[in-house]
Amino acid sequence: MNPSPASELQGYNPRNYLNSPATGLKSWLTTLDHKRIGVMFLVAVTVAFALGGFFALLIRLELLTPGPTIVDAMTYNRLFTLHGVVMIFLFMIPAIPSAFGNFLLPIMLGAKDVAFPRLNLLSFYLYLAGASVALYGMVHGGADTGWTFYTPYSTTTTTKVVPILLGAFILGFSSILTGLNFIVTTHTMRAPGMTWNRLPLFVWSIYATAVIQILATPVLGMTLLLVAIEHAFGWGIFDPARGGDPVLFQHFFWFYSHPAVYIMILPAMAVMSEVVCAFSRKNIFGYKAVAYSSLGIAFVGFFTWGHHLFTSGQSTLTGGVFGVLSMFVGIFTAIKVFNWTATLYRGSISFTTPFAYFVGFLFFLVFGGMTGIALATMSLDVHWHDTYFVVAHFHFIMVGATLMAFLAALHYWLPKMTGRMYPENWGLVAAVMVVLGFNFTFIPQFLLGNEGMPRRYFSYPERFWALNVASTAGASVLAIGLVIVLVYLLVAIRRGAVAGANPWGSRGFEWDTPSPPPPENYETTPVYTHGPHEYHEDPEPPRHAAPEPKHV
């Protein structure tokens, strides 16, 4: 290879992970390269997102008028269940960690690969297996339980709930293996000089995500298994007719599913911590605060699950404990928001597409987060619980924040992953459409919730009509914006301008390697002497001073 890094900074890296060591389907399906696995995950989650988005559009169309519009109640119930299951288990949870995390984490650590490449590939195939089992259930009737699978409804429904439960169970293992790999990789694979306090913030957040994946997912797996056993054999653990306690299911479910919200949002924060630094050319304001707040979210996020049970007959005492602890989890998000904003101070801000998504992200995270804390305010929750206010709140976090981050990541790292640029003008147009369309979709839903419209309603009293029409209109703008993104990105992958190793002038570590990166990430093991995103000095000469690695 060309020994001079200066010449690599121009143009397209000829020997990259996309064409080496081999091309062809087989070399991809059996690859152990974390970058290829990341790309395969990216394709898979994008397909899942399109499917979930399609369900979402059908739901919004059905709600265009009170009463039946395009489907009947049974179909509608299946649609929102599938929308939830696909979006959460097949898109949100793996989207950023398994796709971008896989691609970037080892590169950011200066490692050649993740610690267990075979487990990494297994994780991908488990994802496919879980998705297939769940899809089988969907095709053969689907479930009508909602993605929350509340007992005893889920144990008595006649729809095909068992394959969907098993699918989610298998997907849980995929998630666990990815998390396990990331933790071990971060602990043991860091390049020389990469101390914990020099880790890119992306790594910190993905690490915190992995902790949650490891500790929470098994409980969900067991719970889903119990529901499946109950549904199939009637063992009575959650069956009130046999002395079982359906509320116990809710405890188990939210012990996973509340932290799972952080599995979805922490990677978004990971992306945005990189984007805000790169596009304002500033070091992060308060590195330690941002880094440790990720761990704080991961830890405290486990203490708050009971705020989903405020109206389920939970005791006042336990409710109060969960209520006050829920207030603390908001603090960590607040720290990040303030530090990101302060990072802009005295920066050099370039308003390109990823940064546009950062702006949208900041807006959605602030309002999504604040409404979340408001929801945890106990007496307000009694009014809002299970209404459209909740729906709007978590869509602000999941779609608003996480989807913005996903899109920002796609645009920011597209040059790294493919070596090519996307069209900036189209990017900005689509970003504006996505952000505005999203607001038009979900702000009316906050008001619907205030007004008292419960969620999962197939039909509604007429006084909710106007706001529902507004919401559906917004959803169509959002959908068009997303289609534009998809189209120009697909074109850009083939025909985009060659980007070069570092088109953004970013000083994140992943930009030190050529685009697209070679199979082993770096020609020589890098040595780090400072943290990422240090912009106050001139770029240093190449700091890959390490000797040739001992084994090749």
Binding site: H187, V211, A241, G243, D245, H251, Q314, S315, T316, L317
Partner: protein
């Protein structure tokens, strides 16, 4: 490192390990008999449970520290185990505290403080109109 001088410490360490394993094993057997024996006395109140779980915790600590070598390996591995135990305590503790303190009729019929087992049709009024039950169990 691989020189002849290095062998002796390894051998020595091994001998002490065998002794250590044997002591731990005997301790585990003794504790097993102890917990079985104590259970035959039917210690009143919650203490029987506390004693049994205390002994189990001691036994598992022995296994984790010596058979699983956490005594020798510091750092991340210990942290992993301790963290997972914290979350075990969290899930058990908070879930149980809810069952123990909620409105008693919200617990399954036939259980502590709730309604007696009856017909599954609860159309009619419950047998005891619970009035004085609020925040406390």
């Amino acid at each position: 490192m691989a020189g002849p001088g290095a062998v002796a410490p390894v051998e020595h360490a091994h001998a002490s390990h065998v002794a250590r394993y044997a002591i731990v094993w005997i301790a585990l057997l003794a504790l097993t008999f102890a917990t079985w024996g104590l259970s035959r006395f039917h210690i009143p109140g919650g203490w029987g449970v506390a004693v049994a779980l205390g002994i189990a915790t001691a036994k598992s600590a022995l296994v984790a520290l010596f058979f699983m070598h956490l005594w020798d390996q510091r750092g991340a591995n210990r942290l992993v185990l301790v963290t997972s135990l914290v979350f075990v305590a969290l899930l058990v503790g908070l879930t149980l505290s809810d069952s123990a303190t909620r409105f008693p009729l919200s617990n399954p019929p036939g259980s502590e403080g709730a309604l007696p087992v009856g017909p599954t049709d609860y159309g009619g009024p419950p047998p005891v109109p619970p009035r004085d039950r609020g925040l406390t169990p």
